[in-house]
Symmetry: C2
Subunit: 205 residues, 2 copies
Amino acid sequence: MEATILRAAEGIFAEAGFGGATMQQIADSAGLPKANLHYYFPTKEALYRQVVQQIFDIWLHAADSFDDAPGPAEAIGAYIDAKMEISRRHPQGSKVWATEVMHGAPVIQDYLETTLREWTADRASVIQTWIDEGRMAPVDPYQLLYMLWATTQHYADFGHQIETLNGGRPLSEDDWDRAKATVRQIILRGIGLGPAPLPAQGQPG
Amino acid sequence: MEATILRAAEGIFAEAGFGGATMQQIADSAGLPKANLHYYFPTKEALYRQVVQQIFDIWLHAADSFDDAPGPAEAIGAYIDAKMEISRRHPQGSKVWATEVMHGAPVIQDYLETTLREWTADRASVIQTWIDEGRMAPVDPYQLLYMLWATTQHYADFGHQIETLNGGRPLSEDDWDRAKATVRQIILRGIGLGPAPLPAQGQPG
DNA sequence: CCTCTTCCTGACCATATGGTCAGATTTGAG
DNA sequence: CTCAAATCTGACCATATGGTCAGGAAGAGG
C-alpha cells in the first residue's frame, strides 16, 4: 500500500513540484480517497520526504559500479552507464531530486551535508589517486563528478526538452544507446582515456 | 516598475516553483502591495510567462559567441564560457527554466517547438559540418549540445548542492575559474580538440 | 484651480487545499 | 462466532491563495 502511494506521489511531485502537487491528485493517482493517504503518511511533507529518500538510495546505489571496477576507464564508464540507466528508468525520481535541490533542499539538506558529502569526498579521493598514479588526465575530481551527474541526469530532468527536439517522440532504444555512447566517449576521452585527438590543423579561410 | 516585479518574481519562482510561489511573496519581495502586481500583470501565469521569456532570450543570446567563432574549438569554448557565466550571473533564471521544462513545459512548449528547435538544428548542422571537414571528432551533435547545456546549467540549477559540497561556501572566483577550465578542457579534449591522451598502460594488480 | 488619465491600495470574495475526525468496514486471532 | 485491532472513508474545517473592485493619490495639461 505504501508502495502504491509512494509511486503515485513520485509521479505527481515530479510533474508539479512540492508546492504544485496536491494530496488530492496523489490520492486520485493512487486510486485512494485522500483521507486514506493521511493514514499512512501523516503530512504531505512526510510523504514527500519518503519519496526523496527513496531516490537518494537508488542514486547512491549507482556507485557500486564505480567501486567494483579495476581502473578509471571501467569505473567511470560503468558509472555513466548506471546513471544513464537510472535516468531512463526513474526519470520522475530524478526530477523530484532536482527540484528539491533547486529549491535549496529544504527537506533533505541533512543528507547533502552528511551522506552525500562523504560519498563525494570518497570518490573524489579515488579519482585523485588515479590522477596521481598517472592513470588519467589531471582534472579537478569534484568538477568531474559534477559533470558526470549533470550529463547523465540531464536525460531525465530535461527529458521533455530532449523529446521535443527529437521530433516529439520519446528516445528509441537506438537513441539511448547513442546518447550513452556519446557521453561515455566524450567524457572518457576528455579525461585522457580515449583514442588519440585529431592531428593539428590550420584554420581554413 | 515592471522590471522590479520581474526580478522579484524570478527569485521567488526559482526558489519555490510556479505552484509553490505566491503572489504575496512576490509582492513582498518587490516591496509592493499584492493588488498592484495585478495592475501590471493580470495573472500569475502572465507574470510567470514573462519571467520565462526573459530567460529564454538570455539563453539564446549566449549563442552569439558560438556563431562568431572561426572554428569548433573557439566556438564551443566560448559557448561554454558564456553559458557558465550565465549560470553564475543568472542562476535563478536558469532554475526557473529548468523547473518549467521538468514540469513538461506547460507554459513555453511553443518556444521549444519553434525557436529552440530551429536554434538547435542550426547549431547541430554547423557541428556536423565541422565533423565532416575533419575538424573535430565524430560525435552526435545533438548529444554534444545536450552535454554543453547539462554541464554548464548544472552550476546554476544544482548550485545549492555544489555549495554544500564546497563546505557550505559559495564558489570563489578561483572555484569558478577552475570549474570553467575543467568543463572546457574535458569537453574540448572529449571531441578531439585537446592535448594527447595518456600513453596506453597495463592494469596494475 | 479643474479635470482627465495613470497609477496605486486596502478590503473583500470564491475557491482550493492540507489536514481532522467520527464512524464504517475489514481482518484475523482465539 | 466474537471482538478488538487495523484499515478505510465521507463529511467537515480553518486557512491561504489568486484575483476583484471601488475608490484614493499623483501627475500632466490647460
